[in-house]
Point group: C2
Chain length 138, copies 2
């Protein structure tokens, strides 16, 4: 028996999208491979945020091999928007950008310290092969 | 004259949303403060990705003081989805997470080098106040 995504062809139960939309799940339903009947929650948020009609259009405009990734990213975005109706996944982007700023500052400090320690070490070795008896720059 | 967002109350021209949707722009139009007539492109992508009806619902569910931020994040998400129909702004999230991984690795290496250099320096100072004549651990 041929299978398409999570749905058995010719099976009686409609995909999660058609079930929520209360429509007949056609043999070539664009949602069926990505919204199987056993994951009803997956479509609910996507429908709430993007609307079934827009999701349908967006999927139809993509080649089949890219639709799985497009659905995954839409599910991610929709879940983020339901969790945070004001910022959605743009909140995650701001937070990641702040983390990057912090890490870049910490990295610049650590690299500056490496340079400083190396210069000090090189100076102590080149000073007649001996280091000073006590650190003077700490 | 009282103004609400970018729209003059009672002005003849409808907001960018109502113009695109070809409907009368009511005095209390939920879109008008955020989609002024002079920025028609701003609403076009939001409508294409989320649908006017969903945006309307999402805005109605938020207190007025949060709607501006919600519109900004939806405009950002919609523009990202139009630019990259497969990954949308989830593509930006992946890219930022990769940058964070790279920075964390670089930071760990730099911090390990700082520790290594400090230990070497401390050892050379404590060795009768003199450093070895040449580095042995480099």
């Amino acid at each position: 028996m041929k299978e398409s995504g999570g749905r058995k062809q010719g099976a009686a139960s409609p995909c999660a999208a058609c079930k929520l939309l209360r429509r007949r799940c056609a043999h070539d339903c664009v949602f069926a491979p990505y919204f199987p009947a056993d994951e009803p929650h997956k479509f609910a948020n996507v429908h709430k945020v993007f609307g079934a009609s827009n999701v349908n259009k967006m999927l139809q405009e993509l080649p089949v091999h890219q639709r799985g990734d497009a659905v995954s990213s839409m599910v991610y975005e929709a879940n983020a928007r339901v969790r945070d109706p004001v910022y959605g996944c743009v909140g995650a982007i701001s937070s990641l950008q702040q983390q990057i700023d912090t890490l870049q500052t910490q990295l610049a400090l650590a690299q500056a310290e490496v340079v400083h320690l190396r210069v000090r070490q090189t100076a102590s070795y080149s000073h007649h092969g001996f280091a000073p008896t006590s650190p003077t720059n700490s």
